[in-house]
């Protein structure tokens, strides 16, 4: 009985700040994903360039 009560206490409280933070984090998430994709593309381009030339 204690565990469901604890989960309910911690996670089911409506928090406007949590939703705002999730929205802001989503923006940074996609920025970070784009950044890492750029890094991967740089690596891949180097590999392709080395194989080509």
């Amino acid at each position: 009985m204690l565990a469901p009560q604890l989960l309910h206490t911690c996670f089911d409280t409506p928090q406007a700040s949590a939703l705002t933070m999730a929205a802001v984090s989503t923006f940074f998430n996609f920025l970070v994903i784009f950044y890492h994709m750029t890094q991967c593309a740089l690596l891949l381009r180097s590999t392709v360039a080395i194989r080509l030339f």
Binding site: L7, L19, V48
Partner: protein
């Protein structure tokens, strides 16, 4: 270099993280923008979160930063992620639980944000990874635990509500550091302790210095060498190499855009 099992683990970790982000965004848009909720997305978020937490625990042994801080921090984050994913799976019809789990995942995002901020300010660069992870955790934990859990401990101590999650986190880190030193029999002024607290980091996936060296090498090559290289490229008619050219062009366009944004 990564061994094969670790690489596989990392691939599963990344795939689950991306799936979690996409499905959590769908849940949030459904619940708060379109006004509907389908539990299947929440269930996918929960399962992906469990796998993500498990693979994070497997990789914690080779974590960057000061290990005395980073290992307990990652175990803490993985535990929080596991609990949040369990909460999501136990009641997938409640979008608040998905948001809490998503916020735990976003600690890894905020870490990158703080690394960028520290790099920009050029302050605290000696322990940039450890500092970034700690700040990211302190940023997100109050939103994960919720108002009652945040305020309960402080309210019982001072009779006034206040943020409790940072105090819990810092107390946990101090406790694990002392416990580690005690169980390993390491004194705080020993060399072993110095190794545990020293910062080990590799921030960039791509080596920009190697790229600069490669470009300098190409620029300093003699005209004969360059023309020889050009001839050998032009006369090469193998279809596999021709097939790579569009890929190389696409990658060049992509990386030029990225480099213009990030440098």
């Amino acid at each position: 270099m990564l061994i094969k099992s670790r690489r596989t683990c990392l691939h599963i970790h990344m795939a689950c993280g991306i799936m979690e982000i996409c499905c959590a965004c769908t849940v949030m848009l459904n619940a708060y923008y379109w006004g509907s909720h389908r539990t299947i997305y929440a269930q996918v978020v929960g399962v992906a979160g469990l796998i993500h937490a498990a693979t994070a625990v497997v990789q914690t042994g080779i974590v960057f930063g000061a290990r005395i801080i980073m290992r307990p921090s990652y175990y803490w984050v993985a535990l929080m992620h596991f609990v949040a994913a369990t909460a999501t799976l136990s009641a997938p019809e409640r979008p608040q639980r998905v948001i809490a789990q998503y916020i735990v995942l976003c600690i890894f995002t905020w870490c990158r944000v703080y690394i960028a901020v520290i790099g920009l300010l050029n302050y605290g660069t000696a322990c940039v990874y450890t500092l970034s992870i700690s700040l990211a955790g302190l940023t997100m934990f109050p939103h994960v635990l919720g108002a009652p859990a945040n305020c309960a401990g402080m309210t019982s101590l001072t009779r006034h509500p206040g943020p409790n999650a940072p105090i819990i986190f810092i107390s946990y880190l101090s406790f694990t550091a002392v416990l580690w030193a005690w169980t390993a029999g390491v004194s705080f002024d020993s060399m072993e302790w110095g190794e545990l607290t020293s910062e080990g980091v590799r921030l960039e996936l791509f080596d920009y210095e190697a790229m600069a060296r490669w470009r300098n090498l190409s620029a300093n090559a003699t005209p004969e060498v360059r023309s020889d290289a050009a001839d050998s490229t032009c006369t090469d008619s193998r279809p596999a190499r021709r097939a790579r050219l569009p890929l190389a062009l696409c990658l060049t366009a992509w990386t030029k855009t990225g480099a213009a944004l990030w440098t």
